[in-house]
């Protein structure tokens, strides 16, 4: 299904999740092709302690390099970047990351909306945004921004989400391009690879 719609190239896949989102990633990451032709950015609502266990956990499930972002890191193709705890993650026009410790958005820092909107601004129609399980409204505005800039928007199929509220919220408010369960999500991301 997905392959037909992917004539254009993809530079970045940004994945956001809250409650139950991590479980999805732990299933998706091991199934991805090890050499990617794009960059993956992961934003998860997480506890605001500055430990690196989440980075280690994700890295243990894939041979793709995983890095928790430091200020002004350059986005490299074939890497997975993780938003650090307690910072908003933004992307600059020169394809570097900026961190921001401003007010929480949707009670969250990092906020999915902030990263989605910033990525949409820089990557336009070469961006794919995926919203996973969660019990928050975060991510809906971000997906709308991605859609507006011509990117592809995907929500996890709510019936398959541990917390269906967040993807359902996006589906109700944004004309998302695809609603996918986990196996279809894996095929979709792999099909983006050149």
């Amino acid at each position: 299904m997905a392959e037909n719609s992917l004539k254009r190239s993809c530079d970045v896949v940004v994945i956001g999740g809250s409650t139950g989102g991590l479980d999805v990633l732990l299933k998706v990451l091991p199934a991805l092709k090890p050499t990617l032709s794009f960059t993956i950015i992961v934003v998860l609502h997480r506890k605001n302690s500055a430990d690196s266990t989440l980075e280690a956990l994700l890295a243990s499930r894939t041979s793709i390099p995983v890095r928790e972002v430091e200020d002004k890191d350059v986005l490299a193709v074939g890497h997975i970047y993780l938003a650090p705890a307690d910072y908003h993650l933004l992307i600059e026009a020169d394809k570097t990351f900026s961190l921001d410790y401003s007010e929480k958005v949707n009670y969250s820092r990092p906020s999915l909306d902030v990263t989605f909107e910033s990525a949409a601004d820089v990557y336009g129609d070469t961006l794919v945004g995926i919203l996973l399980s969660g019990a928050n409204t975060d991510g809906t505005k971000g997906l709308a921004a991605i859609k507006k800039e011509g990117g592809i928007t995907i929500a996890q199929k709510p019936e398959t989400a541990q917390a269906p509220f967040m993807p359902q919220q996006a589906i109700d408010n944004v004309a998302v391009d695809f609603i996918l369960d986990i196996p279809d999500m894996i095929s979709f991301i792999n099909a983006l690879n050149n």
Binding site: A50, D71, K72, Y87, L90, L99, Y101, E117
Partner: protein, 269 residues
């Protein structure tokens, strides 16, 4: 959404009319702050937004205060403070006089955290804490030492995790949902406006704290500010940055040695 060209126009106005130079701020973050303010203050068009910034000095003040970030907390990253307490401050205790600079102190929560550490290390009496920020309203809050009571539970937990052994509430008195910190802590603080973009070095310090400020600057400006810190640090002085910041890609790096895992560097040359 605001266009890049419109951001440029606003930044140019700020520079030409008021001398504020935001051209080397991290653009993505700055743009988001500008859009946020535009929405918050409900300007129907960019032209009206711009006109207000250009013609209303009070609004200009609000604009600068709102596009710069003043979010901060006490004992943020407790393990960092534990390192200061157990590794860094003991190397300063023999000095006759200790100067600390909090560059970009915002509303001052870190300055009070530092004063508490210095007091518990028995060296507050011979220390001076210079706290600077470009935002006068934030500095005024810092000077008053009054913070929301609701934050104290988190701060108290941070304090204990940083190695604090006293009852955190012994440092303040609570009233009407706010707390006022012990004035003895503030006696050693000097507050002043200082713009890291345009102002020079003004003293020599043993420790410079600048945490989560450089993230708002682009690389060339980060490098300039790090050179300013280098000029302002005495021999064997320390520079402390935020957990996700680094001096590794700057010109001052060869003269500094990182202290353990925390983002603290010592000037060795």
């Amino acid at each position: 959404m605001i266009a890049e060209a419109e951001v440029d126009i606003l930044l140019n106005d700020l520079y030409e009319l008021y001398g504020y130079d935001f051209s080397n701020y991290s653009r993505a973050s700055l743009k988001r702050r500008i859009v946020r303010l535009w929405m918050l203050d409900k300007f129907p068009s960019f032209a009206e937004f711009r006109y207000r910034v250009k013609s209303d000095a009070d609004y200009l003040k609000r604009f600068v205060e709102e596009i710069t970030v003043t979010v901060t907390e006490m004992f943020r990253d407790p393990l960092f403070y534990r390192c200061l307490r157990t590794e860094i401050l003991p190397t300063l205790t023999a000095k006759p006089f200790i100067r600390v600079w909090h560059a970009g102190c915002a509303t001052g929560e870190e300055v009070y955290s530092m004063a508490i550490l210095l007091k518990e290390s028995q060296i507050l009496h011979k220390s001076l804490l210079y706290a600077t920020d470009l935002n006068p309203t934030a500095l005024e809050k810092a000077r008053r030492g009054i913070f929301p009571l609701g934050s104290m539970k988190q701060y108290s937990e941070n304090y204990i995790e940083s190695g604090g052994i006293l009852d955190f509430s012994s440092y303040y008195t609570a009233q009407y949902g706010q707390v006022k910190f012990d004035e003895k802590l503030a006696e050693k603080m000097i507050f002043s406006t200082h713009n890291l973009v345009s102002d020079r070095s003004f003293n020599e310090f043993d420790l410079i704290m600048c945490r989560n400020v450089l993230i708002y600057f682009d690389k060339p400006l980060q490098d300039r500010v790090l050179s300013l810190f280098d000029e302002s640090l005495g021999q064997l002085g320390y520079l402390a940055l935020g957990t996700k910041e680094t001096i590794n890609f700057s010109t001052i790096k060869p003269n500094y040695k990182q202290q353990g895992k925390e983002k603290i560097w010592r000037k060795i040359a």
